[in-house]
């Protein structure tokens, strides 16, 4: 599929996955990839810690929007990328203000009643963040809103929050809010979820469980799965290959041979593991897979992010089937 077409297929794209799979890197990569196709992007962080700002060479972002890629700075047809952080507390205060509870806010916070609201209605914190994102979507602040979902525990918790709130608060404005968000999430033209994993056993198991839970319970459209940090497949590696060569022939020291043998054996093992996990994922989850390479750099900066984004767009072109309208879901 044409990447621009792919990124235009929904207004909101939620990037979810468990900790340690590089979810924030993938969120920044997706935002950049969409920008490379000329779309304007708002990247939203919800964890309260700015993981993606350094990848754009920017300072940590607050509640206000900050432009991290300015279309004017680029010769190519770039879209603007802005970054902002929405934390539950900010969202709650803003939401109360915008619903005519403004004067209440100060009083409620001073006596600690906001905690009671949060306790009485599980999921309210996540819900309000989603509510703020929904408001931004309706204002049309950008062609695409990319959400870096929280990493804590399972990704489902964040996405399931409107269901929890709808069931706990059976009337009132919160209940309405929850229903409106469920409407957004259930509409494939407005929202899709991209799950991120690495090609290892436990993350893949959790990804498969998460996918079915998200689709069955929430009716959310699942986009392709991003498999992050893949090693290039090197040919001709076998655990014993270096020892087949007579050391003197190439002027290799015994230490060189040991190191080559160690590296070849290790890489061979990892490649086999990786390949078997990708096959398993393909067999158990009928979603397109987008593969991103392992980045051999201790930090992800502008260069690495731009390269990853180009790679992602190439993967979308090659691997995503053409018709998003024909999205059949994961249910076999």
């Amino acid at each position: 599929m044409d990447p621009k077409h792919f990124f235009s297929s929904s207004n909101v794209l939620i990037v979810a996955g468990k900790g340690g799979v590089g979810k924030s890197t993938v969120a920044a990569t997706i935002a950049t990839a969409a920008s490379q196709t000329g779309l304007s992007v708002l990247l939203v962080e919800v964890s309260g810690r700015s993981a993606t700002a350094p990848m754009f060479g920017a300072q940590a972002q607050g509640y206000d929007e900050a432009v991290v890629i300015d279309e004017a700075d680029h010769d190519d047809q770039r879209g603007r990328v802005s970054l902002r952080s929405i934390t539950p507390d900010d969202a709650l205060t803003e939401w109360l203000n915008s619903h005519g509870f403004g004067r209440l806010v100060t009083r409620l916070s001073s006596v600690g009643i906001l905690d009671v609201i949060a306790t009485a209605t599980p999921g309210i914190r996540d819900l309000l963040v989603l509510g703020r994102i929904k408001a931004l979507e309706q204002e049309g602040v950008a062609d695409l809103i990319v959400v870096d979902a929280p990493a804590a525990g399972h990704a489902v918790g964040f996405l399931r929050s409107p269901v929890g709130v709808r069931d706990a608060a059976r009337s009132g404005v919160l209940n309405r809010q929850a229903n409106e968000i469920l409407e957004l999430m259930g509409d494939p033209k407005r929202c899709q979820v991209v799950l991120v994993t690495i090609a290892e056993e436990t993350p893949i198991n959790e990804l498969i469980e998460t996918s079915f839970a998200i689709e069955d319970e929430l009716g959310v459209r699942l986009g392709p799965v991003v498999v992050n940090a893949l090693l290039d497949e090197l040919d001709g590696l076998s655990p014993t290959s270096p020892s087949d060569l007579p050391p003197a022939a190439d002027g290799l020291e015994p230490a060189d041979l040991d190191a080559l043998r160690l590296a070849a054996t290790f890489r061979h093992e990892r490649q086999q593991l990786q390949a078997s996990q990708l096959t398993r994922l393909e067999a158990q989850l009928p979603l397109d897979q987008l593969h991103l390479p392992m980045v051999f750099s201790p930090v992800i900066g502008t260069t690495e992010r731009e390269l990853l984004a180009q790679h992602l767009n190439q993967q979308i072109t090659e691997r995503v089937a053409n018709d998003p309208e024909d999205h059949q879901g994961t249910t076999p």
Binding site: G19, S24, G112, I113, G153, H154, T202, A263
Partner: protein, 361 residues
């Protein structure tokens, strides 16, 4: 390694903390295995609902009471998976005036929301379960696998969570009224409660008020228990083990954990770094030379693999040092990245045998 074995042989409680995805559950289980191998009666408790512990032990599911896991050791190994709701129900029953009182609280919708979902409650119940296991005198060692929450170490704060709930204004508001029938004397408070109802729905407020009213009389029991469990976590026989992996994102989390421990006047006794990479015996310069020299030979792939591995293991080494610097007093241990996940007792024994002190540079 003597220090590690001494720690496992000597402590009554070992709390494994760290972020998700670093092998915390496996590490906790392997500590219990090492204890059982040393002849102790050890129980490992997990809070993670993802069934990782049952999976690592190769058993079919675990419950809220310890289940014995057989293995080739002189001691005992048992495992338990915390059921937050069930544990909270037990606490309510212990503190209630009578069965009817307990049921009234347990069936309240607000209580159900609090008991099942509030993350602080999960931590509180984990500490409660830990106290229960310790007090049973059945176990020489309790190993705790803490939840993979981002704002972790709420575990330490857990006993205070409940006190905060009891100090809540709504609680005070409704319990200060001794009349039995709910009446809010204070006009300002009444306004707040009714406005609150407009936000969250009147039913939520009613549920909360009913809950706080029926909770009356249990309060002191809860407060006393919170104090006792706090003491359990800070006793000398309790050790904290920080579990991490040499990745950039987990380093930040580990730093945060250490700060949290320090602010509670605690420190980790050991740092276990899982998933460390093998280190080739040549440096990056030599690897580059080899890659050039072996280009288009049968060893080309091996030479690329070598350069890649050196880059990854150099970062890895750097992270291990940064982790070690977080708590210089702590015993530093590493476990190599294994080819597959652990699904049975032999795998766990193998894992436990691979825990080692990193070689000096």
């Amino acid at each position: 390694m003597t220090r590690w074995f001494d720690l496992i042989a000597d402590r009554k409680v070992i709390v494994c903390c760290g972020t998700g995805g670093v092998g915390k559950t496996t590490t906790a289980a392997s500590i219990a295995v090492t204890a059982a191998q040393a002849g102790r009666n050890a129980v490992v408790m997990t809070i993670d609902p993802a069934k990782r512990l049952a999976d690592a032990l190769g058993v079919n599911g675990l419950g809220n009471t310890p289940q014995i896991v057989d293995g080739p050791w002189p001691g005992t190994l048992a495992a338990v998976m915390l059921d937050t709701g069930e544990t909270f129900d037990d606490v309510v029953r212990r503190n209630a005036r009578d069965a009817a009182h307990a049921e009234r609280v347990i069936n309240n919708r607000f209580y159900r929301n609090v008991a099942g979902t509030l993350s602080g409650t999960q931590d509180y119940m984990a500490v409660e379960k830990l106290a229960e296991l310790t007090e049973s005198n059945q176990w020489d060692l309790v190993v705790v696998d803490t939840p993979p929450t981002r704002d972790a170490l709420t575990f330490l704060d857990a006993p205070r969570v409940l006190s905060r709930l009891l100090d809540n204004p709504i609680y005070k508001l409704v319990t200060s009224n001794r009349g039995g029938v709910f009446q809010i004397a204070n006009r300002a408070a009444q306004t707040i409660v009714s406005q609150l109802g407009r936000v969250v729905g009147a039913s939520v407020v009613d549920d909360a008020v009913t809950f706080f009213q029926s909770f009356e009389g249990m309060e002191q029991g809860f407060r006393d228990r919170a104090l006792a469990t706090s003491a359990l976590l800070t006793q000398d026989a309790t050790s904290f083990v920080l579990v991490a992996s040499p990745r950039a994102d987990t380093l930040d989390e580990a730093r945060y954990f250490c700060e949290q421990l320090t602010s509670n006047d605690l420190s980790p006794d050991a740092i276990v770094i899982n998933r460390t990479l093998p280190r080739p015996g040549v440096d990056a310069t030599r690897a580059a030379t080899l890659q050039h020299q072996l280009n288009q030979t049968s060893l080309e792939s091996a030479s690329i693999a070598l350069s890649d591995l050196i880059r990854l293991s150099t970062d890895d080494r750097q992270r291990v040092q940064e982790l070690a610097a977080l708590a210089p007093e702590a015993l530093l241990l590493t476990v190599p990245l294994l080819a597959s996940d652990i699904h049975d007792v032999p795998g766990l024994i193998d894992f436990a045998s691979r825990v080692c002190e990193p070689a000096a540079d």
